[in-house]
Symmetry: C2
Subunit: 190 residues, 2 copies
């Protein structure tokens, strides 16, 4: 239940490469930390499955964040299984690693929105022994048709999904877009 209370969550697969090969792990906690410098963060629990992701990240300082599209939600979900070390979740879940512009970590070929990340800081949250992993954005790959005039990305066009709770996947449809809010230009509220 607790996992549902924050509302809808982002759906991403994080790709890393280590001594024992490639890893791909699903995360629903990737969050925007700021645009300048361009930072994203996510929460990691040391005790859960994607331990290799953290080990690889610490070693190479590089990782990728790949948004999950409707077309491969089932594959993405099962990267959460407790695979043995040395097993690549790419291979086990029929997903394709892709290397772009000499970046050391693998991207997910099937993803419509891929972000190259550099590890900046690992912040301990001592209250429950989790970590906030902070990374800076090095590069972004997406279909230009999904880039709006104002620079925002049209996630609906990319068929990006949202997650709720532990295992529910959702498609998303825009219902409203509002201008930057100014006290002097408030609408007549219903």
């Amino acid at each position: 239940m607790i996992n549902s209370l924050s509302g809808y969550k982002s759906a991403n697969l994080i790709g890393t490469k280590g001594k024992k090969g490639e890893n791909l792990a699903i995360f629903s906690s990737v969050v925007h930390l700021g645009a300048n410098p361009a930072l994203l963060g996510f929460i990691m629990r040391p005790a859960t499955v994607p331990r290799n992701t953290l080990t690889n990240m610490k070693r190479s300082k590089h990782f990728t964040i790949n948004s999950i599209n409707e077309s491969f939600v089932e594959n993405a979900h099962h990267t959460s299984a407790n695979f043995k070390e040395g097993i690549s979740e790419f291979e086990a879940c029929n997903l394709t690693p892709e290397y772009l512009d000499n970046f050391s970590a693998p991207f997910l070929k099937e993803s419509n929105l891929k972000v190259a990340m550099k590890l900046e800081q690992i912040i301990d949250i001592k209250l429950n022994d989790t970590k906030l992993i902070v990374g800076s954005i090095e590069n972004v790959y997406l279909d230009e048709t999904a880039l709006c005039e104002n620079g925002q990305v049209d996630l609906n066009a990319l068929k990006t999904v949202a997650i709720s709770g532990l295992n529910r996947y959702h498609k998303v449809e825009e219902i409203a877009k509002f201008p930057y809010s100014r006290v002097s230009e408030l609408p007549e509220f219903k």
Copy 2:
């Protein structure tokens, strides 16, 4: 653009009460930190509008997280305007404060999912001068019909919205639900 890269974001209004009255501020960064203890977190930028929210929170140690429903997205969006100190965003945006079970912070009456929170920790993210605010869940209010057998909350039934970028609001529809993933029970992937 950077604000769109993490994917869909949760949509919540945070309610506080201070010396100069009630405040209500929109946040798209509320994230699940862990179930035991039950913790939620969110990112706050000191330089942006909802400064009073932080002041009130530090003083009273209590705040509320109220999910945004389709029916009041426009009202919710405009709580982000830079209102003068002493102006209640509840009143300015035609939203209704509600006090429940002697909790000191105001809930949002119109919200279908309300969480009473106690401030636990404020963690500085020095890279960009933001803060991760960590709170523990004290109480939850929702319509019981939206509570699933396994305890998860059916956010679709509650008409909870998702946010993307700075100003886009989305309705959400479930497309898939998968069991806990086990290596021994993987499906045949497409």
